[in-house]
């Protein structure tokens, strides 16, 4: 495990909360939820960050990929070259987060992939 991710995991253990990251496979009324519980820091957006599509009710989330990697979330996907989509493990704006009792749409995802350590952090904004 990378030093950055290890430090983040320790910080989240002390100052974070559990959230659920949910990828939803949906067609019509048929739904399959693919969930993983992650440790995250959840904060309300600051007054100076409310601009454009960022609303006062949105939440900022900082999370580590540790739980996603351990759970092999989201599981099996069509193997390359059938699928040439981006890394399926990184949350997408079509995903949801269940935080503080409510399912929220992911609005922005900023994964941090640093040098040889690789994926070590995700910053997200989710709808309130």
């Amino acid at each position: 495990m990378s030093g950055e991710r290890q430090a983040l995991d320790a910080a989240l253990l002390d100052a974070g909360e559990d959230i659920i990251v949910r990828r939803q496979v949906q067609s019509g009324s048929n739904i399959a939820n693919i969930d993983v519980t992650c440790r995250a820091r959840v904060d309300t957006v600051g007054a100076n960050e409310i601009a454009g599509t960022i609303a006062v009710s949105d939440l900022k989330i900082i999370m580590s990929p540790t739980e996603i990697l351990a759970a092999q979330w989201p599981g099996g996907v069509p193997a390359y070259p059938v699928s040439n989509a981006s890394d399926p493990r990184i949350p997408r704006i079509t995903d949801f987060v269940i935080a503080r009792g409510k399912q929220r749409q992911v609005k922005m995802v900023d994964p941090k992939i640093i040098g040889v350590d690789g994926w070590c952090r995700v910053n997200m904004v989710v709808a309130g």
Binding site: V25, G28, N30, A32, I34, A71, P74, G76, V77, P78
Partner: protein, 133 residues
């Protein structure tokens, strides 16, 4: 050893699929059993959908079929429970027929291979979950 609940595949079925391999669940060495549930939610169209569950003992070079779920044009939920402790004599491995199972062999990698005929529509969905323990 990694145990827990895993998704082998979850997706809508539309155009015909010719043995579409899914990425495997890995690091399963040491598991004693695998319970697998296949949930097929039928919408419309289509003819057959087959989910073949395979395991590999050599890092993904050779895959052995361990379970097969067959669906047609009706919703259904089917399950298998496979044991890694089932005693077996020397037995030839062969391809699985409809709803077939090969028990007693669980490698460190498990994947799903999806084959379908006809064009499914109406939100037809296949959801394959495995609990390894």
């Amino acid at each position: 050893m990694t145990t827990g609940s895993f998704v082998l595949y979850a997706g809508t079925i539309t155009a015909a699929l010719s043995a579409q391999q899914q990425t495997p669940i890995e690091d399963l060495e040491g598991i004693l059993s695998a319970s697998i549930v296949a949930r097929f939610v039928y919408g419309s169209g289509g003819t057959t959908a087959v989910a073949l569950i395979e395991t590999s003992l050599d890092g993904g070079t050779i895959w052995h079929s361990i379970a097969r779920f067959d669906f047609t044009t009706a919703s259904a939920v089917k399950y298998v429970n496979l044991s890694g402790l089932t005693a077996k004599g020397a037995t030839a491995l062969s391809s699985l027929g409809s709803e077939g199972v090969t028990d007693g062999i669980l490698g460190p990698m498990v994947r799903a291979v999806i084959t379908s005929t006809g064009t499914y529509a109406g939100g037809t969905l296949l959801d394959l979950r495995m609990v390894a323990r």
